[in-house]
Amino acid sequence: MLEELLIFTRGGLILWALSGGGAQASPVDALIRSGLLEERPADGAGFSLDGKRALNWAFDNGLGLVFVAVYRRVLRLLYVDDLLAAVRAEFARVYNPKRTSYDGFGDVFRQLHLEAQARADEMNKFKQAPIKPRPPSPVPVPLSHNDVPKVPGDDGGNDGESQQGGSDGESGKEENSGDPEPKDGGAFNLGILHRLRIKVIPTKDINNVNGNKNNNKGRKKNKEKEGTHRKLDFSDPVDGGKVTDHVVVKKGVQGQSQVDTDENVGDGPKAEGWFSSVFQSIAGGNTVIGKSDLQPTLKALKDRLMTKKVAEEIAEKLCESVAASLEGKKLGSFTSISSTVQAAMEEAILRILTPGRSIDILRDVYAAKERERPYVIVFVGVNGVGKSTNLAKVAYWLLQHDLSVTLAACDTFRSGAVEQLRTHARRLQIPIFEKGYERDPAVVAKQAIQEATRTKSDVVLVDTAGRMQDNEPLMRALSKLINVNSPDLVVFVGEALVGNDAVDQLTQFNQKLADLSAVPAARLIDGILLSKFDTVDDKVGAALSMVYVSGAPIMFVGCGQSYTDLKKLNVKSIVNTLLK
């Protein structure tokens, strides 16, 4: 049975509630905060899981109303969509913007409920095989059962190949370089991500077992080879994790980190073709926007977004969500459809890119300082995105705010990684904790944090090795590092050059971190650092793709290769650039 059916305005006032008491507002609040405000649902009606309850919702864009039905998840009520549509139609007749109580609607609703149930029963009888309720097993449920899940398996395959070119030249021990593996078959499930973020225990990934076997073989072969080569690696053998002393190097005046400068951005581009739009709109004063009217404009917008390198699936979903929010709305006078759509799209992108929580790292560092613990930041990402470089930039910025920083060299894999960090540490004159190569990064990190606590350092920046998102053993190692050390911030470094692969990278990273963690409350990616931003002039779509997929805010933008080239994301300028 339906537990609750709420009708409320977009401004937040409840107009009618089935239970009459408004007691069940909390799942709806959670739905609004996490779902509706993040432009995730692909259609107007959607279906979301929230622990024990399932919620269906529908919009009436013309009147600015939202209809939400709440029921127990185990009862798979199939008539709810139908009922919501009927309720929407009926309520639109009764609705008056001045009225705030609709007691008479209760009877109407009961009637509609019975009718909807009857219709669903009839449909049941017609079908030969009864509609089996989906087994309550760990099969991921798609976010909207109306949506035909696209097959990003193809996308994944292509991206796998392109990734080979881009990855670092890690010869010998390179895992999975040979096969662009098909991604776990099935839809690109935003639903999974959504659930992950609510910290429900998701299922284990049964795929990629082959990947494991390949890895082991590759490793064994290599060990045999090494013995026969002359010693070419003259890196200093490092003994026991002592903190190296500051070598007195003249610290050149580097200038100021650009994180703290503000940028002022004017308004976005005005609608083009003023004359043509004026004449169009004088003709269409009070029309209601229909689906077919939106299609051409939305297609043009989608193409424009894709030329700005927004991932195709993201652009598609965004356009659908904007269409759903505009369908049925009345066109204002003197506005054309294209300007309305543009405004709605701009608002949607602005909403996605605006961080959902505070990203003031300095404040969190001070809070940790009061508790006499160092603030630990872990940088993760695939190969070659710029983790070490951007880590040094962040260290520089923190130093400018008079905080003491320690670096932890937990990239014990890539040749030269430890030396690279050592050089940065020497130039910035900060301590670095290193244990050389071939050590367990989780253990190195743990010892680094202990050392930092002992020396009363404010921040610990942990550098990790780059790893492909579908490499199971490496992801497991990363998950172990994060769970053992429980850092305060997990930053995913993604490069702005990446296109569709950003979606895959982030999804897989989050999924693996959740799947392979030993503790129930898995830590996921908390923030994104967008690197190599200076190499893309206006193809800034990667920012939008990454934020949309992971829900994590962009904390920093790396825009160059020197210490001062670190900025904060200017949301307005990105929105303008995307829609130019």
Binding site: L13, I14, A25, E38, T261, D262, N264, R351, T354, H401
Partner: protein, 256 residues
């Protein structure tokens, strides 16, 4: 380009010729009509933009702004509210003043959603504000103290707010609940948090194009009395109708 210049010159010549042909009185009348219209428009626009009469209800999500909005307008919170996705914007006469027989000027109140992702909406509304009511949840204060202080800090350091000396009322809502904190406690905690924020935000102050303004006196711990605009604290409860403090604030700053 030259062609256009030549064309423009010929048009100017033609216009001059045409003007010379008209009788002089008509020209004087036409010019006078144009001048008077322009004068009228200027005076009307001056009068309109002299005093904004918008009160902005802001605060974190779940603080009780929408409830407060409907209390002010209709005297009751109806059947409850959910998280707002859009702003509530209305011009009305305060419900408690509707019984007054004399002519009462309506107030324009905007209830801005508190969700972090809808923050840009606040930036749109603030320039037109005559007063800001910052609604704080007195019952659930400690867990959201940092976020509330950050929000309040953002409001207090906006250039438009400081320049126009927009008064701010910190309204501690939900004081009808037993576990609600007192307004003095909330005031002190907010001052402490803003003090911390001040240090972390303005450590490097050579930001040239900045929308932020320095708060308070450097060297001393922050106090609301150091703000250039007036900041007052009051308490009440939106759901029970105890909103007299807000109404007084509104009447004080929007001429009735």
């Amino acid at each position: 380009m030259d062609e256009w210049i030549r064309q423009a010159e010929s048009w100017v010549g033609q216009a001059e010729g045409w003007i010379h042909q008209q009788p002089p009185e008509q020209i004087y009348v036409a010019a006078a009509v144009v001048a008077i219209t322009i004068l009228l428009l200027i005076t009307v626009s001056c009068l309109k933009s002299s005093k904004p009469n918008t009160i902005v209800l802001s605060g974190l999500s779940g603080g009780g702004k929408t409830t407060l909005f409907y209390q002010l307008r209709d005297g009751s919170a109806h059947q409850g509210t959910v998280t707002s996705m859009e702003e509530n914007n209305d011009t009305f006469v305060l419900h408690s003043e509707q019984e007054r027989k004399s002519k009462v000027k309506p107030v324009h109140i905007v209830d801005v959603p508190g969700h972090a992702r809808l923050k840009p909406k606040l930036d749109e509304v603030l320039p037109k504000a005559a007063g800001v009511v910052f609604v704080v949840d007195a019952q659930d204060f400690l867990s959201s103290m940092q976020a509330a202080a950050e929000y309040l800090y953002d409001i207090l350091t906006k250039a438009t707010v400081v320049k126009k000396k927009v008064p701010v009322l910190i309204f501690c809502n939900k004081t009808d609940k037993v576990t609600a904190h007192s307004k003095e406690f909330i005031k002190k905690q907010l001052e402490k948090e803003i003090n911390k924020l001040r240090e972390s935000r303005t450590a490097i102050s050579s930001a040239d194009i900045s929308d932020e303004v320095q708060l308070g006196v450097p060297g001393e711990s922050f106090n609301f009395s150091q703000c250039l605009n007036r900041v007052t604290v009051a308490e009440g409860a939106g759901s029970t109708g105890n909103v007299s403090a807000v109404e007084e604030f509104i009447r004080e700053h929007v001429k009735a």
